[in-house]
């Protein structure tokens, strides 16, 4: 390995000497992954030394790890040497030049979701500057946030402008070597979002990647870090209800949340990556590590997710409840249709006293899909008076799909209270016929029944999201019955 390290050192000095920065915009690295590639990424992003060291450490650890195979999903092995780990933010060469070049099926979906016209072009990845006409809107929001003292920027900007905050919090919730995909992400992450809400500040608006409209495409190894200082609160919306055009098959993101004393973070996701076609061809592998730490007393972290996309989803947004009286919540709707596979759930780790967690998971399967809930509730000896309530419901549509529930519980404190409720139901022929007999179409009937099933989770979403999520659900399940 020593020769590799020398290569790295050489690479660093060499590139700096030649003013490597100038050709960042157009450059892509060839496929393959070694320490040189990790260093090159760091260099291109002009990162401080601590971050390069951190990446390299993660990479070395990653090489000792084996890709996990315990999830209830099946896919052909990924060749990690066949991926390009850095490409220019946009590839205008193969991006469509106008909406006319975009897959009409995709456009039809946008129309059904009610996405505004100018938004559709952006989502479809059209390489035209005109699609950024909402940049001024974004700027207005930035001013408002700056006034409140909230830092909200791309991860790269945070590294350059607030390195001390990044160094202080990065990897403190999801360590660089946490798991195979997190380690990979730590080594090669391209960009992502950074949020810091200072003490006592209630963030004046919902933060969303939506407002980071002119930011570069963050790519397949996204990294997000959100810190709410003492008494601060923030609500963050990730993603978009429209299917995103994307060439990358593997997505291995990491999201870290830190809530200090009396702080609250609400993190909502609507994930609609390309799920592959009706026959299970193509589609994104979404292998994500999301974790929040209620580090301070009386803090609260709440995850709400609506997952309808990706060929394979593998994610467990978790809460580490360290501070006394802290609260963790997980509300999830995971929809799988056709040949999609989802293995998703949460972990609630109770460490502090009187910590409380709530898990509500709704899985919907249709077609040939496999949908698994996997959840861990762990109560450590220190967590006197800890409480958990878990509810897992599965809804099956048609006879070819499957739902699985894997609840794990480790309770090491006798004063804890843990409740678990689970149900599996078929979308009743009875329910469907009842609605048809009242004059509803099969499609409307299914939408209505499914929305009812998911209602408790949708209630947790910010309002503007809830409506879109409901539309999204009906699009995702189109043709699932009848």
């Amino acid at each position: 390995m020593s020769s590799k390290s020398q290569d790295v050192a050489a690479l660093i000095s060499q590139k700096y000497r030649h003013g490597f920065v100038t050709d960042i915009e157009s450059d892509s690295l060839p496929p393959g992954l070694d320490e040189g590639v990790v260093a090159a990424i760091s260099l291109k992003k002009r990162e401080p030394r601590f971050l390069l060291d951190w990446r390299l450490q993660a990479f070395r650890h990653w090489k000792t790890l084996r890709e996990p195979d315990w999830a209830h999903v099946h896919y052909t092995p990924i060749d990690y040497q066949d991926i390009s780990y850095y490409s220019a933010p946009r590839a205008p060469v193969d991006a469509p030049k106008s909406l006319d070049e975009v897959d009409p099926k995709l456009l039809a979906t946008y129309a059904k979701l009610g996405i505004p016209l100018h938004e559709r072009a952006r989502l479809a990845g059209v390489a035209v500057d005109a699609v950024f006409d909402s940049v001024s809107v974004a700027t207005t929001f930035k001013d408002k946030l700056a006034k409140a003292g909230v830092i909200f920027c791309s991860f790269s900007d945070a590294v350059l402008n607030h390195p001390e905050l990044v160094e202080r919090y990065l990897g403190t919730v999801v360590p660089a070597g946490d798991n195979f995909f997190a380690a990979l992400n730590s080594a090669v992450f391209s960009d992502g979002s950074f949020v810091f809400v200072p003490p006592g500040v209630r963030c004046p608006m919902e933060l969303s990647t939506y407002f980071r409209i002119n930011a570069a495409k963050t790519g397949q190894f996204e990294r997000t870090l959100i810190v709410a200082a003492e008494g601060a609160s923030v609500s963050y919306l990730e993603g978009c209800t429209a299917p995103m055009r994307d060439e990358n098959q593997l997505h291995a993101a990491v999201v870290e949340l830190v809530a200090l004393d009396d702080a609250q973070i609400k993190y909502s996701t609507v994930q609609n990556w390309y799920p592959g076609d009706e026959n299970g061809v193509g589609g994104i592998y979404n292998f994500v590590t999301k974790r929040g730490e209620c580090r301070g007393r009386n803090s609260k972290i709440s995850w709400t997710q609506v997952e309808t996309g990706s060929a394979i989803t593998w994610k467990y947004p978790s809460c580490v409840l360290k501070g006394d009286n802290s609260v963790g919540e997980f509300y999830s709707v995971a929809v799988t249709n056709h040949y999609q596979q989802a293995d998703t759930g949460t972990k609630m780790i109770h460490i502090g006293r009187n910590t409380k967690s709530t898990i509500v998971s709704k899985g919907i399967s249709a077609g040939h899909a496999e949908n698994s809930y996997r959840g861990l509730v762990k109560i450590l000896p220190s967590a006197d008076g800890a409480r958990n309530f878990t509810q897992c419901d599965s809804l099956l549509m048609g006879g070819l799909c499957a739902a699985h529930t894997f609840p794990y519980m480790e309770v090491r404190n006798p004063s804890a209270t843990v409740e678990h409720e689970a149900s599996t139901s078929k979308i009743g022929e009875d329910q469907l016929f009842y609605c048809l007999q009242r004059g509803l179409s099969a499609e409307d009937a299914v939408n209505m029944i499914v929305s009812g099933f998911c209602k408790v989770v949708f209630k947790e979403l910010p309002m503007e999201f809830a409506v879109e999520a409901q539309n999204l659900l009906s699009v995702s399940l189109e043709g699932a019955v009848g």
Binding site: G428, E429, D430, Q431, F433, Y434, C435, L436, Q437, R438, G439, L440, S441, A442, D444, M448, I449, S451, G452, F453, C454, K455, V456
Partner: protein, 255 residues
């Protein structure tokens, strides 16, 4: 339409469920303005007849014809039958958790109005309508926001069926054992609901085990269904006779 014309005309209707023949040649004519009661022992095919008329998919029609309001009923999808004015009051109304009772009903009414080329009701118009009907059915407004039949008692579910019927104003209502599980007060309210819908342009088919219901909703004709066939038809007196003598004498007569 004319009061003398058949609203429903069933001819030699046969059907099976899971490979088993249940209906074996039903003949039944119902004219607008009439109330018919269908009685018979358990397993005689009463509920199957109701489900077949409503178009349930797992009931296979093996023979015969059904005309409804001048149309070939069997050629229509279940939702088209509903929009054409056929209503089935279910024996066991299903629960649909999380779906507002009022939301389902509004969607149902508007689906029907759309099909008829009538303007849809908006939320305010609909609310006014349903509140008036609920008052008539002596139901509390809490029903509006509860999930469809979710956590309703047996009696509440049946009352809810009648409420739906009153809102949808069907041409033909088939009520499948709507009276079972009702106490006497609920039975009176349900009967009041059904009677309020009776007029020269509509018809009602009551599927029931008990003559008690027929004290409140007086039928024009009573039919006895045994072994998937109508063995005997008569007026209300037949129901009283059945109550005294049971069904065995009819089956013996056939044998």
């Amino acid at each position: 339409m004319s009061g003398n014309m058949n609203l429903l005309d069933i001819s030699q209707l046969s059907a099976r469920v899971a490979g088993k023949n249940i209906l074996n040649g039903i003949d039944l004519q119902v004219r607008a303005g009439e109330v018919h009661a269908i009685m018979g022992p358990n397993g005689s095919g009463k509920s199957t007849l109701a489900q077949v008329l409503a178009g349930r998919a797992d009931y296979e029609v093996t023979g015969g014809t059904v005309r409804f309001d001048g149309r070939d009923l069997l050629a229509l999808a279940p939702e088209e039958r509903a929009r054409a004015g056929l209503f089935l009051g279910f024996q066991y109304p299903v629960e649909i958790p999380g779906v507002n009772n009022v939301y389902l009903l509004k969607a149902a009414l508007n689906a029907k109005r759309r099909a008829a080329g009538e303007p849809e009701f908006d939320a305010y118009e609909f609310l006014a309508l349903i509140k008036q009907k609920m008052k008539f059915m002596q139901m509390s407004e809490a029903f509006l926001t509860r999930g469809v039949n979710e956590g309703f008692s047996g009696g509440e579910k049946k009352r809810n069926e009648i409420l739906q019927m009153l809102v949808l104003e069907p041409k033909l209502a088939i009520l499948d054992e709507t009276d079972s599980g009702l106490d006497i007060d609920a039975l009176k309210i349900v009967s009041k609901g059904v009677n309020s819908l009776r007029d020269a342009s509509r018809a009602v088919i009551l599927v029931t085990h008990y003559q008690r219901l027929l004290d409140y909703i007086v039928p024009d004709q009573v039919h006895v269904l045994v072994g998937g066939r109508i063995l005997k038809s008569g007026d209300k007196a037949l129901a009283l006779e059945l109550e005294h003598r049971g069904y065995d004498w009819l089956q013996e007569k056939v044998a």
